[in-house]
Symmetry: C2
Subunit: 608 residues, 2 copies
Amino acid sequence: MFRTITCGELRIADISKEVVLAGWVQTVRKFGSITFVDMRDRYGITQLLFDETLNQQLDDNPLGREYVLQVKGIVSERSNKNKNIPTGDIEVLVKEFSILNRSITPPFTIQDDTDGGDDLRMKYRYLDLRRNAVKKNIELRYAVNRATRDYMHQNGFMDIETPFLIKSTPEGARDFVVPSRMNPGAFYALPQSPQTFKQLLMVSGYDRYYQIVKCFRDEDLRADRQPEFTQIDCEMAFVEQDDVLNMFEGLIKFIFNTVKGIDYSEQVQRMSWEDAMWVYGNDKPDIRFGMKLLNLKCPGHVFTGKGRNNLLIDGAGFGVFDDAETVVAISVPGCADYSRKQTDELTEWVKRPQIGMKGLAFIKCNTDGSFKSSMDKFYDGERLKAIAEAAGANAGDIVLILAGSEERTRKAISELRLDMGRRLGLRKEDEFKLLWVLDCPLFEYAEDEKRWVARHHPFTSPKPSDIDTMINNNPVIENAAEYLKHPYANIKANAYDMVLNGNEIGGGSIRIYQKELQQKMFQALGMDEAEQLHKFGFLLGAFEYGAPPHGGIAFGFDRLCAILGGSESIRDFIAFPKNNSGRDVMLDAPSTIDQKQLDELQIKLNLD
Amino acid sequence: MFRTITCGELRIADISKEVVLAGWVQTVRKFGSITFVDMRDRYGITQLLFDETLNQQLDDNPLGREYVLQVKGIVSERSNKNKNIPTGDIEVLVKEFSILNRSITPPFTIQDDTDGGDDLRMKYRYLDLRRNAVKKNIELRYAVNRATRDYMHQNGFMDIETPFLIKSTPEGARDFVVPSRMNPGAFYALPQSPQTFKQLLMVSGYDRYYQIVKCFRDEDLRADRQPEFTQIDCEMAFVEQDDVLNMFEGLIKFIFNTVKGIDYSEQVQRMSWEDAMWVYGNDKPDIRFGMKLLNLKCPGHVFTGKGRNNLLIDGAGFGVFDDAETVVAISVPGCADYSRKQTDELTEWVKRPQIGMKGLAFIKCNTDGSFKSSMDKFYDGERLKAIAEAAGANAGDIVLILAGSEERTRKAISELRLDMGRRLGLRKEDEFKLLWVLDCPLFEYAEDEKRWVARHHPFTSPKPSDIDTMINNNPVIENAAEYLKHPYANIKANAYDMVLNGNEIGGGSIRIYQKELQQKMFQALGMDEAEQLHKFGFLLGAFEYGAPPHGGIAFGFDRLCAILGGSESIRDFIAFPKNNSGRDVMLDAPSTIDQKQLDELQIKLNLD
């Protein structure tokens, strides 16, 4: 061992002890004949004092930033204590020192606020990882990892490794593929998730499985996506939806408690997908704040079970509303005093291409009980008051109203709600609100491909009450434009997403375990029997030999860590991430390979 | 939940309780109007009793093997107790039952001794995994996984994930490569190990790292190799060899204790590589038994520090020994009474092509004090006695002697020793003996490639005392045949292998952390500067910014589990293994992919 103790351990009680420390030189400060050095390791920083007896040696062996140093010395009380660090009461009076390795000048400062740009820090990731700001993310990630494993172990789950070299069955995202040298012309695929394997494990009787596992998707990378990412992947047999929800809200609460010291004792709210869309315009609503939607108008074929508030706006001759498919409002607290400039700015905000609305209507609920609206010409005070009251507005609030086509308008009001929440400081980084969103539609219709696609994945079961609808109807649609009238459009999935502060952190479902239903699902997705057998013959086979009812969930581990760490970026929580082009700029990967390797694999490049 | 309790839990104390169970039908036995069913799940087997009231329902819904069943019933005491299973005191008198899923007849019996052959079991691995014999392997693997994580956590190691899509730097084994769609013509490689990443983490200051991680090697698969396999991968900074040895013999002892209930309190033996070769003829000796080698003769350039026993055999005019490069003997206890047939059979055994010796000499040390030898013509009783005594033989033992070229003969005597140990029952499955083998040669010379190759890997440091030899000599060899005279041939690696019962279960080293030494190593391996920078520029770069001394180890997780489970085959301990052609016969992978996928990747097949 090059040390007897680390740089984070020494306290006042250790005074007079002889210690050996090793670490990196953070700073060197010379005062006359004495030199102070802050030495850093994983555990902390310790101040070293080199007195005049070592001057000559220091002159012969000058210290620089990031040098690796070993010192032997005596722990002494500091005259000038530093209350900001745990070792601030002491310093080590150096008796001997040895430079274990030197460093050239780093390309950026190894400090919380570094002067290094993103690209530079990624290229020298091994230096970036030394910064405390990054280190605490990596430590948090490990703490979440450890807490997860402890909880799963306590609950009888087994970590069972599933293979990485599997079969390509593209459905949804693209597979990364791996040419097989021993089977020329054939390819393995890297798993997008261990989905079918964990289901096979349930068929095999391993009734509680989990893994913290790398998954791979060859997608065009949007900001903050990684081609390889990590999942907490879980599955249980002999369970129904409630069992899974209880088990895994338990997991997240355990992580909150263990990692963040947060006692999340309240019941996790459960909301249907339909309610989430109706009340928040979003299937992963941030419920840290209210501003629930007032649905003034929406097309007949959606939200069939919901009430309408058409009368509040109908008959006023206001063409914007009359011509719109959907009219929705939110009440924003305390903003009735918004100036013309401010409402104009909001109007511009909703007109941005990303939002895409034509305009914004508002009602100011003045504190004197009067109402001032952009629609004064069409609605008198009484009608404005009725709308405001329906929106839940109080005196001093402003009601914001959007109108347009259903999908775009609902998305826009949701974005507007989130933005107003942000502006009002209602999305607090240190407040955590969990939510289950349940029972989304099983299918979406891909109009371009003229087929149903699974909203979740092809192994998700319909709600038990919808199984007959699925079995007894032909999935084929004659008139694609009228797909909403097909019975499949109303089938609900036996699925659940866990939402944390407006981010989907996990999703899962009760699975299909009956061969016939699975075949019907594949058929609905446009797979003929030959394709079903080629891609999923093993799963259909397994379902013939006594498959139990089962279900599970997968959490996005990178995202979960990022949210717990109070960050928007998953990259900050990955030791060696890739950039937005899928490149590792430190390694310079991917890169060309030798012709010999291509020859052995019996492939060649086919570049344009 | 489809159950209130599992099939392994009910005891005599539970009598009269109403329970709900779910599981698989193991057996159905009908006795007149009552039917017994053994129901199985992950936790055990429970006997169900269907009495005459359920006859009609059973006739309408007959039960078959591997059906998935749910029953509600009352726990009752069995009249005919089964002492072989924990639930053998009770049965469940069924009140209601429901068939959750049916099964067609399985292709083999789901029992410890199955009638299914290897290929069939691999094709239906999801059924094979139901067999208790396989299940206990998977459970053992999880127990080893859990124990490892507990020990590493207690010792301050952090599990830090390293990337899977990295850069191809073939050196030794072949890489699996992954074409990049976003970077046409470029490829990622799958890691053969996280070696360079864990070293970077040490440079970054994360001084105790571990991972249980998948690694990939595209090798021609010998028996019991897998293209993807799992490592316990570990690294520590600020350590010397002894620190690593102590830490990781602690790990294996902890696993022994936790998983097998074995208190391995004795000191783990440490032996130099040279001693292992000298005493056992093998760098991973099985030390559960003795039969140490008597080195009668060996060439001058190997084992320079060892004594010789040439005088025992010289001058007898025995051409076989006189002409041989190497003569080695072992004494096999209690086998002096071997018949002519038995010594002939041993002679045939060493003459097999796998062993490749020309013959076998022996000395029988009869219990009456006389000696009988195949070399009676050349050696009188006194000389035979001297040899036998030097070999450590007692009355009743047989001394077996092999002669030939050094490498082949040493390997042969080692194989013979192992086989004799097996014949005599000295290699006990339930006895575990650990051994560290230290300081192997740093380099081997590849005569065909005319260059040095790293015996371990290019990041292994020489022993501190050999660093100057390495730095100060030109690695290039003029006369390849005389490579043993080059100073590099005598450089020892600062490396260590952990051996368990004759199997290498782990290996590691203290690493090079100085840029110049690392460059010298690359140069010795025949890499010019451009190649060094292309392949390992990031590592050489990292070494410029204050790399600490560090070292580590990696254990073969699959192999470790297999040995702990008393098996020779790692496949039995992998949930979804590949066969010897690298195929997953259950998935039918690898397989062809769509032309669209090839086009997107801008590659094409180049089959002969």
